[in-house]
């Protein structure tokens, strides 16, 4: 199916948007200057018409509040992301084989078979290149097709991008059964629509007991076996090992950068870690991503040292994002501008990844696939409440936060069912928490104005600002 009726709006716009960003970030110092003194002040509070599609990107890049060193690091991340989008677009246009993977699937392994990898789910983020209502547009396509409006909008956007005809046809599909109904159902519906494609499903474990992890690791070997049998391709071990080294470099750097955010004042780079996370879902094992992570770590170090030398004042208000970040906008710059509130840790950006063990082929595979279970959003949706309580408690303590903001994403059933438990967890620690009831992908739920009103109300109500 290499003949498409329409161009892939999703991929074309993503590639174009990334292209422009890369052009701008080629000169990180001037990009920083521009954002800090010209664009940032115009965009933080308002959405002028001309900036409708680009505003989110500016906000995500810190709107002038992050140093050029971090922008330079992000450029590398965008180079990696761009490779993924270009591969997707290429496959869309030419019919070149591409594999679909779900986001906890070890895409590094699939790529070591010589496949380019595309993850349909990532439409939730890619659609932001079409403006703040890009996600809503794809969600609406899914709803109109009659799938459901109770799915998580992340998956609605993914399905929508397929139903809109924006995705390259896969020649191999590797699904996961991430313990989130919605993600699983997205895989199932896509599998229904691509009946002739060899499809392998890795059953993601619910708990972390030995036998469950053992099964997870075994399923990676079954995956390798499956790909070999069904495509005639062989795993390039040298390539896999090279990828694993990049993954490892990334891991070490990111772990350190996340830890450094405990400093008070904290470096303002938590949002950047969030961007890296999104890219690593599909581009894990690329050198550019490892470089990006290392540069982010260096920038974090620079911040910490700089702050210490200048005896910078402590953070006014340290915020923890307790769940997934909003995709279609960003209000970190707004919070900082008006309340001096700094996001010091977030559920997505902050992570601790176990290192890769290079002692044997087996150990590489094992650590690579177990590492995927520590990915943000995969990590927190597993297991019983103790996992979530534990993570929230330790983040509140270790990062010395003053309050917690939960987006409470509309379609996230497993998180919504923990609302009371997490709210009590924060109360026990004496830390105020706000549950915003918004949708992270679909801006039809709660507008930016309403979100800001809720945050402002929360800050003043609890005397935080």
């Amino acid at each position: 199916m290499d003949q498409h009726q329409h161009p892939s709006v999703l991929l074309e716009t993503s590639v174009k948007a990334n292209e422009s960003l890369l052009k701008i970030l080629k000169y990180p110092r001037s990009a920083h200057f521009l954002m800090k003194h010209v664009v940032g002040p115009m965009l933080i509070d308002h959405t002028p018409k001309w900036a409708n599609t680009s505003r989110t990107a500016v906000l995500k890049l810190g709107a002038g509040y992050v140093d050029y060193r971090a922008l330079e690091a992000i450029r590398w991340c965008l180079v990696a992301a761009q490779k993924g989008y270009v591969a997707g677009l290429d496959a869309f246009k030419t019919g070149k084989p591409i594999a679909w993977t779900d986001w906890m699937i070890p895409c590094d392994i699939v790529r070591a078979f010589g496949y380019d990898v595309y993850c349909p789910t990532t439409a939730f983020a890619a659609s932001a290149a079409q403006g703040p209502d890009g996600g809503a547009r794809y969600s609406a396509i899914t709803e109109e097709a009659g799938v459901s409006d109770v799915l998580c909008s992340v998956d609605k956007a993914g399905l929508g991008s397929y139903l809109a005809g924006d995705l390259p046809h896969p020649s191999l599909v590797v699904n996961g059964t991430h313990p989130c109904d919605s993600a699983r159902m997205q895989c199932m519906v896509l599998e229904y629509h691509t009946p002739d494609v060899p499809t392998f499903t890795m059953d993601t474990p619910y708990g972390r007991s030995d036998y469950e992890l053992d099964r997870w690791v075994k399923s990676a070997w079954e995956l390798i076996d499956f790909i070999e049998k069904n495509t005639g391709r062989n795993l390039d071990w040298a390539k896999l090992e090279e990828s694993a080294r990049y993954v490892h470099r990334y891991t070490v750097a990111i772990n350190e950068a996340a830890e450094l955010h405990r400093a008070n004042p904290a470096p303002p780079l938590m949002g950047m870690l969030n961007l890296l996370w999104r890219t690593r879902l599909t581009e894990a094992g690329r050198e550019e991503l490892a470089i990006s992570a290392e540069k982010i770590r260096d920038a974090t170090h620079w911040y910490v040292e700089q702050n210490a030398r200048k005896k910078a004042p402590k953070d006014k208000l340290r915020v923890l994002f307790g769940d997934q970040g909003v995709v279609w906008t960003d209000f970190q710059a707004w919070m900082y501008k008006h309340y001096g509130a700094r996001v010091v840790a977030d559920y997505i950006g902050r992570a601790y990844y176990p290192p890769v063990d290079f002692s044997s082929k087996e150990s590489i595979i094992k650590t690579l696939v177990i590492e995927k279970l520590y990915l943000s959003m995969i990590r927190q949706s597993h297991g019983t409440m103790e996992l979530n309580i534990g993570e929230t408690e330790s983040l509140m303590e270790e990062y010395a936060v003053d309050c917690v903001l939960f987006n409470n994403n509309a379609g996230c059933k497993h998180n919504l069912a923990l609302k009371k438990i997490l709210s009590d967890t924060c109360s026990r620690a004496g830390i105020p928490a706000l549950f915003m009831d918004l949708d992270i992908v679909d801006n039809r739920y709660l507008s930016e104005r309403e979100i800001q009103a809720r945050i402002a109300n929360f800050f003043t109500t609890y005397g935080l600002a």
Binding site: S427, P432, D437, R449, T461
Partner: protein
């Protein structure tokens, strides 16, 4: 010295004037067209009962969710105003549950008047006052009849639809099917009281604190009773009309302020 609190809701502007001596004045005006005019009118009504000399400056504070970004006076969040009001009734801390038109909100206060926790009901289950309004209209029942109808009911009908429009159709069907009016009214009160009780349960650390029910809905005595039955708490009595709780809190904040 006179201080005036203004609460802009979805339908009405409520204003409360207080003097340092403890005099109070109230004004409640429906919002028609120009909001500014309605605000002015409500302020006049409230101020009339609390005269002030020409040389004294009146302090203002505004709150509410219906202002659409047009804050004519310094603004305090609705939760803050409710909390301030509750602190006046419960100087040793307490819980205030405010049943508004769309949302039921709860706040716990510490003995110093600090907000410990807040909670509210959610989508697909929203609609406090507006719910009762639409239902009552569909049933052709006056607000004043609701309490007595509730008392007459022996077998309350359990409304299952959370969505207002579907609930409306559900009760119309039930009336047509011969269900007694009082049983449906009782079901409706129980439903809203249950939502308020849920909000009360959402709050943490609520042991041993007095509970107050505020907002227009708490005017229904039976709703308060049902709420007490479902949540197992006893409600305290507010010293102002429950629809003015927020505005009163705003006035107190204005008075306390510099």
């Amino acid at each position: 010295m006179r201080s005036i609190g203004i609460d802009i809701g979805s339908r009405y502007v409520k204003a409360v004037a207080v003097s340092n001596g403890g005099d109070k004045g109230f004004g409640c005006v429906p919002i028609r067209g120009d909001m500014k005019a309605s605000v002015k009118k409500a302020i006049c009504e409230a101020a009339a009962a609390v005269p002030s000399s020409l040389f004294e400056k009146t302090k203002y504070r505004m709150t509410g969710t219906g202002h659409a970004g047009k804050t004519l006076y310094p603004f305090s969040s609705p939760s803050q105003c409710l909390a301030r009001s509750a602190f006046e009734f419960a100087p040793n801390g307490g819980i205030i549950i405010d049943a508004g038109a769309m949302v039921i909100e709860g706040i716990i206060l510490s003995h110093k008047g600090k907000i410990i926790d807040t909670g509210k009901n959610e989508r697909c289950s929203a609609g406090g006052g507006r719910f009762i309004e639409i239902m009552a209209k569909a049933l052709g029942v006056e607000f004043s009849q609701i309490d007595s109808l509730f008392e007459k009911s022996s077998n309350p009908y359990a409304i299952t639809s959370g969505c207002i429009v579907f609930a409306e159709s559900e009760i119309v069907t039930q009336v047509n099917a011969g269900k007694k009016l009082e049983d449906i009214v009782a079901g409706m009160i129980t439903l809203i009281a249950g939502k308020a009780a849920t909000v009360c349960d959402i709050l943490t650390e609520k042991e041993e604190r007095p509970v107050f029910l505020s907002g227009g809905l708490s005017k229904f005595k039976t709703l308060q009773k049902e709420f007490e039955r479902l949540s197992g708490v006893k409600c305290g009595k507010l010293s102002v009309d429950p629809i003015f709780t927020s505005a009163y809190g705003a006035a107190l904040i204005a008075r306390d302020g510099k």
